[in-house]
Amino acid sequence: MSINATLIGQMITFTLLVWFTMQYVWPPLIEALEERKKKISEGLAAAEQGEEDIKLAKKKAANYLKEAKAESANIIALAQKRANEVVEESKDTAKLEGEKMIELAKSQIEQEMQQAKENLRKQVSSLALKAAEQILQAEVDKAKHKDILSKASSQLG
């Protein structure tokens, strides 16, 4: 159990071991560990960034969709308005046209009535002339009694 020179030998061995570990073993290993740690944390950060990006993109897409929807609704409303306008317009024109036609018909009727009246007067006047001829038993000279005749026919009108 004595302490002897073995101690010195062991100390030398120990020193060599520590020196070797310090020089060739520890640095590369700890460096690799640190580097991997860095890599992992970078990867995690990148993944997080990616997730954030996706969230942003989703938000953007939703926004776009909303905008498109609003626009389409706008367009539809505009089209409807335009259609209404067109319908209104055509209604107006139709009314105008109808009124015109009615006016035309009225005037035609008036005209025809006038003509009928004229005809009737002529017939009545000729009838009256004939009746007078028969009454007088003589021929009435149209030229001579033109004034009387026309006066009579105008009274008949």
Binding site: M11, V18, L29, A32, R36
Partner: protein, 254 residues
Amino acid sequence: MASEGGSTGYIVHHLTPLSVGGGFWTLHLDTLFFSAVLGALFIWFFKSVAEKVTTGVPGLAQNFAEMMIEFVDQQVKDTFHGESKLIAPLGLTIFCWVFLWNMMDLLPVDLLSIISSLMGVEYLRVVPSTDLNATFALSISVFILIIFYSIKIKGVFGFAKELTCTPFGPWMMPFNLLLKVVEEIAKPISLALRLFGNLYAGELIFILIALLPAFLQPFLSFPWAIFHILIIVLQAFIFMVLTIVYLSMAHEDH
């Protein structure tokens, strides 16, 4: 193996180192040989890993080495606050080397001594940590580092001041000095004796079990070996952690 001198002879035989020389200049060849071989094993393993280290997916060996490195690094970071290129590799070396020494304890007590006696070597003690020289070599090296760093960090004057003026102030100088010297000296002695005592006693119990009838031995040596797995790791761990603690104390400037 209880041939010469009965059981006492057997025990003494197992605890006698293979030595050459005389007086102080005795060399325990077995201690030197086994610790060197185990140290080489440690160096070889870690060096081979360090040579083809990759930051990608590590292999089995690298994984193990990294586990050890991280374990030691964590211990150092927990206790030692400062920059030192020495402490962590020192801790790793101590932990692995002491663990390998202690692991020799788990080999069957007679195995290597029978083999060596067949080769003509009469005495052989295979567990380096049952040799006081080995444990003291470690703890004295650590002690030298403690003194070195104390002086390096605090300066000769600062270190002297710490030795003489704490804990009771300058008026109690001789008493302080005595206290401090005992405290410092106790560090290497307790380090060395703790490891030595545990492993020596453990080995002794293995030897005693080996003296029992053969049919009884497995029932005793098996549980003791399992318990010993805990002890050898624990002792290596304690040696490392205390080294780190002592060195970080040396680094602390009051």
